[in-house]
C-alpha cells in the first residue's frame, strides 16, 4: 500500500513538475508573441492581432498547470503565527485540514469549471475577437490543470494519512507541513548564490 502510494506520488511529482515547466513555456511563448506583435506594430505598422487574447489563455492554462506543483512542493502561503507554536500532533491536524480545505475549494471550482467548458462545447462558443477561438479548446486545457490538482491532492492526502494514523507527526510534516519562512528564504538565496557562482554559506 505504502509503496504503491509512494510510487504514484513520485509519478505525480514528476508529472506536476513537467506540467509547471510546460506552463512556464507557455508564458515564455506568450512573451515572445506579444513582443513580436509590439515590434511589428511599431516598425512595420502591421498587427498580428490576438496576441493579447492568446497570452491571456497562456496565463490561465499556465497557472492551473502549476497548481499541482505548488501543492506538492508545499508552496501555498499559510499563516504560521500560531501554527509554529503548536504541539506537533495539533500541527499535523492543521496540515490535514489544510489539504482538505484546498481540496474542497478546488473541487468545487473543478466541478463548476467543467460546466463552463461543457457549455462552451455545447453552444459552440467562440471568443469575441478576430481570432474567434473555439473557447472549449483553451478552457479544456485550463480545466485539465484543475482536474490534475484534484488527483494530486487526493494522492497526497491519502499518503499523509498513513503517518498520521500511526502518530508519526514528523512524517506528516515532511509531506504536507507548512514551509517555514526560513526554508522559503533559503530557496530564494540558493538561486541567487547559484548565479553568482559562490558556494552556499552552510
Amino acid at each position: 500500500m505504502r509503496d504503491a502510494l509512494d510510487a504514484a506520488l513520485g509519478a505525480a511529482r514528476r508529472g506536476s513538475t513537467a506540467a509547471a515547466i510546460a506552463g512556464g513555456g507557455l508564458i515564455l511563448a506568450a512573451a515572445g508573441l506579444v513582443s513580436v506583435d509590439v515590434l511589428l506594430r511599431k516598425f512595420a505598422r502591421v498587427t498580428l492581432g490576438g496576441a493579447d487574447e492568446l497570452s491571456g489563455y497562456a496565463l490561465a492554462i499556465g497557472a492551473t498547470w502549476s497548481f499541482a506543483y505548488v501543492l506538492l512542493n508545499r508552496g501555498n502561503v499559510r499563516i504560521d503565527a500560531l501554527y509554529q507554536h503548536l504541539p506537533k500532533a495539533l500541527a499535523a491536524v492543521c496540515d490535514v485540514l489544510a489539504v482538505l480545505a484546498l481540496l474542497g475549494f478546488v473541487s468545487v471550482v473543478t466541478w463548476y469549471g467543467f460546466g463552463v467548458l461543457s457549455e462552451s462545447w455545447r453552444i459552440g462558443a467562440r471568443s469575441n475577437s478576430a481570432l474567434a477561438v473555439p473557447l472549449f479548446v483553451p478552457q479544456a486545457l485550463w480545466w485539465l490543470g484543475y482536474a490534475w490538482f484534484v488527483v494530486c491532492a487526493v494522492l497526497q492526502l491519502v499518503r499523509a494519512l498513513l503517518p498520521f494514523a500511526s502518530g508519526d507527526w514528523t512524517g506528516v510534516n515532511r509531506l504536507i507541513g507548512a514551509r517555514s519562512i526560513v526554508e522559503e528564504a533559503a530557496e530564494e538565496v540558493a538561486s541567487a548564490l547559484h548565479a553568482s557562482g559562490a558556494k552556499a554559506p552552510r
Binding site: 490561465a60 501555498n76 480545505a101 554559506p201
Partner: protein, 427 residues
C-alpha cells in the same frame, strides 16, 4: 454577518489553512449561509474570467524577468561600479548597497529578488572591510524593499488589478518616492556613521579613471529599465507588452553574460510558475470571495460599518497605516494585499483619497511589512546569506530604515505631489 465572517476568516487563518483555501472555503460557507441564490455555481465562470485577464499576464512575465536577471550575474559588475563611485561617503559600501538595490529595483519588480541578488554580491564585503554587521545587513534588507516601489513592480500590478487603477500612472508615481526613499536610506547610514565612525568600515580607494571605466557595467540594468519602463511612457507598449519586451531583453542579457542554458531556463521557468501558481490560486479564490461578499450585501455592510465609525479622513488614514503595519508583521505581503485591498481601497476612495496616491502609500507599507518581524521575508533572505550570527542583528539593523519609511509616508501626506506630480505632467 460581519462578526461571523471575521471569526471564520480568523479561525481559518489561525489554523494555518492556506490563504487561497481559507478565502475559497469562506466564500463557499458564506454563500451557503446567507445567499438565496445558488451563488456557488459561478465559481467556474469566475475562475475562468479572472485568470485570463491580459493585465494579469504581466505578473508571471515580471516574475520571469526577475528570475532571469537573478541568474544572469549582472549584479556583481554593477555593484563594483557603484562601489567605486560611492564608497567615499561616510558609511562607504553601505551606500553602494542601497544604490545597487535602487538600480536593480529599476529592472526588477520584486523586493525579495532585489535583496537576494544584491545581498549575495555585497555581503562578502562586510567582514572584509570591517563594517558594523547590523547596519550593513539593514541596508540590504531595507534597500531590497525598493524593488516594489521603483518601477517595474509586481505589487503595483496586483494593486492596479484590484482597484482598476492605471499601471503606467502608478509606475510614474513610484519613481520620485522611490528615489527619495533610497536617498533617505543613505541619509540614515550617513547619520549613523557620523555618530559612530567605527561602523563605517575601511574605505575602498579607487582612481578616477577606474570610476569612469566602471560606468559601462551600469549599462545592462539601464537598458532593461529603458526597455521595460521606457516603452510604456514612449506610448509604445502597455504594461504587459513592456513586460514581454523585458523578458526578451532579459533573455538576451543572460545569453550575453553566458548564463543562459537549458538548465538555467528550466529553473527560471519553474521558479516563475511556483510563484505564479501560488498567486493565481489566491487571486481566483479572492475573486470568488469578493463576488459572494458583494452578492450577499456584505461588502456594502462592511464599508458602511467602517464609514460609520465616524473617523475623519486622516484619522482613517492613520488607522489604515496602523492596520497594515500590524498585519504586515504576520502575513505574506501579496496575500495581504489581495485579501484587504478590495475592502480598504473603496473606503479610502469614498473619503476622497486619490487611488494612485493611496497605491504608493500601500506599497510603502508593504515595504515596511517586508522588514518587520516576525514574518518579514526580506529579513530572512538576508539572514540566510550569512554563514552565522543571530537573526536579531538583521532585525535591529533594519529598524532605522522602517523609521525612514514612516517619514516618507508623512512626507507623502504633506506633499502628495511627490507621488502625483509626475503622472500629472506626463499625461
Amino acid at each position: 454577518m460581519i462578526t461571523t465572517t471575521l471569526a471564520l476568516l480568523l479561525g481559518l487563518m489561525a489554523l494555518a489553512i492556506p490563504v487561497a483555501a481559507a478565502m475559497g472555503v469562506l466564500g463557499l460557507v458564506l454563500a451557503q449561509m446567507y445567499s438565496f441564490l445558488p451563488v456557488r455555481g459561478v465559481a467556474g465562470e469566475i475562475a475562468w474570467t479572472s485568470s485570463n485577464e491580459f493585465l494579469l499576464v504581466a505578473l508571471p512575465l515580471f516574475i520571469l524577468l526577475g528570475e532571469l536577471l537573478l541568474r544572469s550575474g549582472l549584479a556583481e559588475k554593477m555593484y563594483e561600479a557603484l562601489a567605486r563611485w560611492l564608497s567615499w561617503l561616510p558609511g562607504g559600501l553601505m551606500h553602494s548597497n542601497i544604490a545597487a538595490c535602487a538600480m536593480f529595483a529599476a529592472t526588477s519588480g520584486s523586493s525579495v529578488a532585489t535583496a537576494a541578488t544584491v545581498g549575495t554580491v555585497a555581503l562578502p564585503q562586510a567582514a572584509r572591510f570591517g563594517y558594523n554587521d547590523r547596519l550593513f545587513l539593514g541596508t540590504l534588507a531595507a534597500g531590497g524593499t525598493l524593488g516594489i516601489l521603483i518601477p517595474p513592480s509586481i505589487n503595483m500590478i496586483v494593486y492596479a488589478v484590484l482597484t482598476n487603477t492605471s499601471v503606467p500612472k502608478l509606475y510614474l508615481a513610484g519613481i520620485f518616492p522611490g528615489v527619495l526613499l533610497a536617498l533617505m536610506f543613505m541619509g540614515v547610514v550617513a547619520i549613523a556613521c557620523a555618530w559612530r565612525p567605527e561602523w563605517g568600515g575601511r574605505r575602498v580607494r579607487s582612481t578616477f579613471s577606474a570610476c569612469v571605466k566602471g560606468l559601462v557595467h551600469l549599462g545592462p540594468p539601464l537598458a532593461i529599465f529603458l526597455v521595460v519602463v521606457g516603452s510604456i511612457y514612449a506610448g509604445l507598449a502597455t504594461p504587459t507588452e513592456a513586460a514581454s519586451l523585458g523578458v526578451m531583453a532579459g533573455l538576451a542579457l543572460a545569453w550575453w553574460t553566458g548564463a543562459l542554458g537549458w538548465r538555467m531556463l528550466g529553473e527560471a521557468l519553474l521558479g516563475t510558475m511556483r510563484s505564479t501558481g501560488m498567486i493565481m490560486l489566491i487571486i481566483v479564490a479572492a475573486y470568488f470571495l469578493n463576488f459572494v461578499m458583494s452578492s450577499i450585501g456584505l461588502t456594502t455592510k462592511l464599508t458602511d460599518t467602517i464609514q460609520n465609525l465616524g473617523l475623519s479622513k486622516w484619522q482613517m488614514m492613520f488607522a489604515v497605516v496602523v492596520f497594515y503595519l500590524i498585519l504586515g508583521c504576520f502575513m505574506e505581503t501579496l496575500s495581504m494585499m489581495i485579501t484587504t485591498i478590495p475592502i480598504v481601497a473603496p473606503v479610502m476612495q469614498a473619503l476622497g483619497f486619490d487611488m494612485v496616491w493611496f497605491g504608493i502609500v500601500v506599497i510603502v507599507l508593504i515595504e515596511a511589512a517586508l522588514i518587520t518581524p516576525p514574518v518579514g521575508l526580506n529579513l530572512f533572505v538576508v539572514q540566510n546569506l550569512r554563514p552565522r550570527g543571530s537573526m536579531n542583528d538583521v532585525i535591529v539593523g533594519a529598524l532605522p530604515f522602517v523609521l525612514a519609511m514612516m517619514l516618507l509616508l508623512l512626507l507623502l501626506a504633506v506633499f502628495p505631489g511627490l507621488a502625483l506630480w509626475l503622472p500629472q505632467v506626463m499625461s
